[in-house]
Subunit: 214 residues, 2 copies
């Protein structure tokens, strides 16, 4: 059975992006600190076509998060660029350059229709305008029996967490404060829909908390 | 040098008490879930004069948190009872009964003067009305060279965290959502004042995150 697996980096005070997100500062003020643990890893740098990097306690966690994923689902805010309709004169093709780190079909939840976008390395972006259930169904179909990865942003994650459709959740808890920005669990309520903590990994600059159904 | 050591249990979404706190429901709706990990432990039950209980990965963490503490500092909201002036006809003596689990001097930060309260087992409550710096100074003096423990509530902790006076911080992260209530880090900003994560312990129903200065 194909699972929906959510992973995200969150500050100790619950933020997944800092304040004042913009094209120049996609993760908001201070938001880059949430991902320092990942950018230093060889396994993560390889996804971006970069050499070097470390191997540490986070390495098997990242390897596990990449295994058996057939498609990715994300919100418009994670794909980024600008709010509102797409600008045909200056197309926004995501944060990740010509060879994004996904290497599989990606479904972007948006209110604004757009033709699919095919980039290098097997990454295609499909823009879904008829809601999160439809986007999830398309991602599951494209995954061909493998799992679907959900990355963010916060609002897309909140919608799926609130419906109880998330089968696994990996919170990469970063021991820092952002003070303001996008809170992951805003509006989700007090129900994890059967997700319980099943594994904790202490690693440099991050604690990995894996939740799953028992 | 006497340290100020802060410890508190916090939900995954950052709350240290649920909504609608009252005399009948001191931790607010759902807030009791934050302390289940502790109430099942033999080392914690012994503090309350109760028998039985478990020994697990949390036990040495709790033992460490109790060691070398000479005094406790807390906010009025943690001492509890009711807001506003003390009621002389129906004195509120804290949540903990006639033999509270502290067994040392406790200093309660409040806007309302009151005579000291001496209970069984060596616990005395002193009510401090001239601000958090004065309360901390009195607690340090009473601790006689040992450390001062800071428990809560949220607002007292926020004041001390924002000033950078906290030397150690143990966050007992409980893998549950409360959805609303008292947020620990509200108003603290994005600065931990040199506190870094130095130790992670995975235990049943809780992850212990210890922060200290390097």
């Amino acid at each position: 059975m194909s699972k929906l697996r959510f992973k995200i980096s969150m500050s100790l005070d619950g933020f997944v992006a800092g304040p004042s997100q913009s094209v120049d500062n996609p993760l908001g003020i201070g938001g880059g600190r949430l991902h320092e643990w990942a950018f230093q890893l060889a396994v993560f740098r390889a996804l971006l076509g970069l050499e070097g990097g470390k191997v540490n306690e986070s390495t098997p966690v990242v390897e596990e998060s990449l295994a058996n994923i057939g498609a990715t689902l994300m919100g418009r805010n994670m794909f980024g660029g600008h709010p509102g309709p797409w600008d045909p004169g200056k197309p926004w093709n995501g944060w990740w350059g010509v060879n994004p780190p996904f290497h599989h079909p990606v479904f972007v939840l948006t209110h604004h229709a757009r033709e699919p976008l095919e980039l290098e390395g097997g990454t295609t972006f499909t823009f879904v305008t008829d809601g999160i259930a439809a986007a999830l169904a398309q991602a599951r179909h494209a995954a061909g029996g493998k799992d679907v990865s959900l990355g963010g942003g916060a609002r897309a994650a909140q919608q799926l967490l609130a419906t109880g459709l998330v089968d696994e959740m990996e919170i990469n808890l970063v021991p820092t404060l952002l003070g303001s920005g996008e809170r992951l669990f805003d509006g989700v309520g007090d129900d994890l829909h059967g997700l319980v903590l099943v594994r904790t990994v202490a690693a440099p600059k991050v604690t990995h908390l894996k939740f799953a159904r028992r």
